[in-house]
Amino acid sequence: MQYLWKRALWMMVTITGMSVVAFSLVLFAPGDPINAELRFLGVPAKPETIAALRREYHLDAPMPERYVRWASRVMRFDFGRSIASGRPVRVEIGRALPSTLELAVTTLVLISALSLLLASTVLLSGAQWLDRLLQGCLVAGLSIPLYWLALASLAAGLLWFRVPALLDSESWINLAASASLLAVAPSLSIARVLRERIAAERAEDYVRLGMALGLRRREILLSDIGRVIAPAYFTLLANAFGFLLGGSIVMERVFDRPGLGNLALQAIAARDYPVVQAYLLLAGLLFVVVNASADLLGAWADPRLRRRGGIDG
């Protein structure tokens, strides 16, 4: 119980810090949302019109006052109104979030499955060439720019294999393609780390004892080694989630998915502060929650962590 309280307190501190960063980061970016909006329309505006719009969005107030006003609204889940679209930010986020979550969760499931499959295949087969292949694929996966990979795959799918559903964001094919491509690099990376951790654990005494007692390799791998490396594995997955939030921006843009990434990119270009601030806060919040969940899962899997962290007490 004490462990949970500590985690909750730490999350609160992190989220408060993130809210300050999310609020102030966009203010330091060059440009101004009012000018951006008026320039987009391609029409000049009178200085008094610009001043009135700045007042309307409280852009003329001192920064601390703006932060307090914003934070107090955010606590009531009111993120203000988008300057570029005129719609409430909550509505904008609410419309885009499901698409991004769908992509992120699907990708995370794929990463979990692929990384475990790859690591265990390499280890159980014991083949050196498979290990080298994994290493080679990892280098390739990390060095190919995601945007290029996505665009080339889309071109091949649309023009060679004639699959128009690749551009239909409501089709499972669109989801499967974008999630698979997004899963490639983190799956390989996690598989490589897992393989090394498992290889190291296999040299431990408890594994040798288990083998001497006649337990099968597969049994030892799943029950004993699995339990020990589970916390690290969950942490790796949680870190990959951070990558997914960034990578989903690319996938949403190329595969035409109306998600948070597309919304954020457009808001950044328009200096739409309320939307960018809400996006940054939400992305940070998701990351914190996923990391905390990974820690809890790790503690649940490994009794030693529970005792150390006091989760039982």
Binding site: G31, L41, V43, L53, R81, L151, A269
Partner: protein, 486 residues
């Protein structure tokens, strides 16, 4: 159904800046009171006629038989309420809201807040459209246009269908679906795969992804309208003060091989420019600026005579100071003009000028980081006077009291202000155009405040077999007339 791919959804539904369905793309739900003709002069649309009474006062007659999509007839009372709500707050129109007055059921009277005779010209802007001024306009926008709204999914698509009781010629297409696709390369792939029929806003960077003989798409070009030009910093502070000297500006203008640039960019569709506005616009044809030919010999002579002499490294110096210039590329973004800056650097180098290129992909950074504070010698821009008001472009770029801050560094001064002020106030449009022509020529030929490079058409991409004529202002593109060859 016609499927059109367009950029990101930028409609604004806030009451003060309502642009739903009017611009990029114009879904033809609502209409402006006038529209531009082929010479970009305003012609009747929802206004059947109008009369300038002098001093910026207008009398306009509404078109007979026009109905909103819910059946409400377009009469003076509802029209005035719509103008007050959707047009009076547009600064660029400059309408005095309090002056709107009903004369009879189909006649209204109104006044320009700036006493400008050019106010009607600015009403061709599609965002000055007439919607039914109902309370739930953001949820249920109702206009008088040839299409009525069927479905709008923000950031995804907007679908419209033909309005059976439209007052004008019925469009050929029964339904149009606009799909918002922010990535230009994804738009191109969608067209090549046949998922969409038209890409209505072809960015120059999109052309780079197009094979010279791509049988899957057809490139259609309007007449040239956009200018690619260097705007000079005439009033910069050190180290951006070298172009205060008109002779250096002139030498730079003469050192540019425009033919070579035209062959290298915009799929070869650009043409050598003499000015910032095309000859076909406003009847400027035979009254264009003289412009500059490619004459590096003369450019070298001018620089020699100005005391900028070549050093052993081939670069020019004066009193020990090298002739180094900064070029910020570009508005709207660096990708749209590549590789013009690199080509210019080579051409300037040949006359002994060292050019440092700063590439900017973000238009906000372009203005707030560089243009608004004069933080460069030269600014490369790809823009257009896509407006029926002949004074619009020059007044915004080269008038010392322009609302655009960057003009503090690009406006030549009193003579230009005077010409443009007179052009804006001229009662007669031909007098206004004449004054604009004089200003245009002085900006290029006398002040060299801007160095024109190319004129570039508006481009659209279609599937082969689809006939659609592009218009120079994309918001007035007549998508309803698109049809397939038999």
């Amino acid at each position: 159904m016609l499927h059109v791919a367009t950029g990101a959804d930028r409609y604004n539904l806030s009451p003060a800046r309502f642009t739903f369905g009017t611009s990029r793309p114009n879904a033809h739900i609502a209409e402006a009171v006038v529209r531009p003709n082929a010479s970009f002069e305003p012609v009747p649309h929802l206004f059947a006629s109008w009369q300038h009474l002098g001093g910026g006062r207008f009398l306009a007659r509404l078109r007979d038989g026009v109905r909103f999509h819910d059946g409400t007839p377009m009469l003076a009372d509802v029209f005035i309420r719509s103008m007050k709500r959707f047009i009076a707050n547009r600064d660029f129109v400059g309408l005095d809201s309090d002056s709107l007055q009903r004369v009879d059921e189909r006649t209204i009277r109104f006044q320009s807040a700036l006493n400008s005779a050019r106010m009607i010209d600015n009403m061709t802007h599609p965002s000055a459209a007439i919607f039914l001024p109902n309370e739930d306009v953001a949820a249920r926008p109702i206009g008088t246009g040839p299409y009525r709204l069927v479905r709008y999914e923000p950031q995804r698509s907007i679908e419209v269908e033909r309005f059976a009781e439209y007052w004008g010629p019925k469009p050929g297409q029964q339904r149009i679906r606009f799909r918002f696709m922010p990535d230009p390369q994804a738009r191109l792939l969608a067209l090549q795969a046949g998922t969409v029929d038209v890409i209505s806003d072809v960015t120059p960077e999109l052309l780079l992804g197009l094979a010279p003989r791509d049988n899957g798409v057809t490139l259609r070009c309007s007449r040239p309208i956009r200018y690619a030009a260097l705007t000079c910093n005439l009033k910069g502070r050190p180290p951006f003060d070298k172009l205060r000297d008109v002779q250096i500006r002139r030498a730079l203008a003469l050192s540019i091989d425009r033919e070579a640039i035209a062959g290298a960019v915009f799929a070869g569709r650009g043409v050598v420019a003499r000015g910032l506005m095309p000859g076909w616009m406003f009847g400027l044809e035979d009254r264009q600026p003289v412009g500059f030919k490619h004459d590096p010999t003369r450019a070298n002579e001018i620089l020699d005579q100005s005391g900028w002499l070549r050093g052993t490294d081939g670069l020019r110096r004066k009193n020990g100071e090298p002739l180094k210039l900064r070029l910020v590329s570009a508005y709207p973004n660096a990708s749209s003009v590549r590789p013009i800056p690199e080509m210019l650097a080579g051409m300037f180098r040949r006359v002994g000028v060292d050019l440092k290129i700063v590439e900017v992909e973000d238009d906000q950074l372009y203005y707030s980081g560089y243009a608004d504070d004069g933080q460069s010698d030269l600014f490369l821009e790809l823009a257009a006077n896509a407006n029926a008001d002949p004074t619009f472009l020059l007044s915004n770029l080269f008038h010392t009291r322009s609302p655009w801050r960057s003009s503090h560094f690009t406006a030549p001064g009193e003579d230009m202000d005077s010409l443009l002020d007179r052009a804006r106030k001229a009662e007669d449009r031909s007098v206004s155009v004449d004054l604009v022509q004089q200003a245009h020529s002085r900006i290029i030929d006398v002040h060299v405040a801007s160095i024109p490079i190319l004129m570039v058409p508006v481009m659209i991409l279609t599937r082969p077999g689809l006939v659609l004529e592009p218009f120079e202002n994309l918001d007035w593109l007549n998508l309803g007339e698109a049809h397939w060859l038999a």
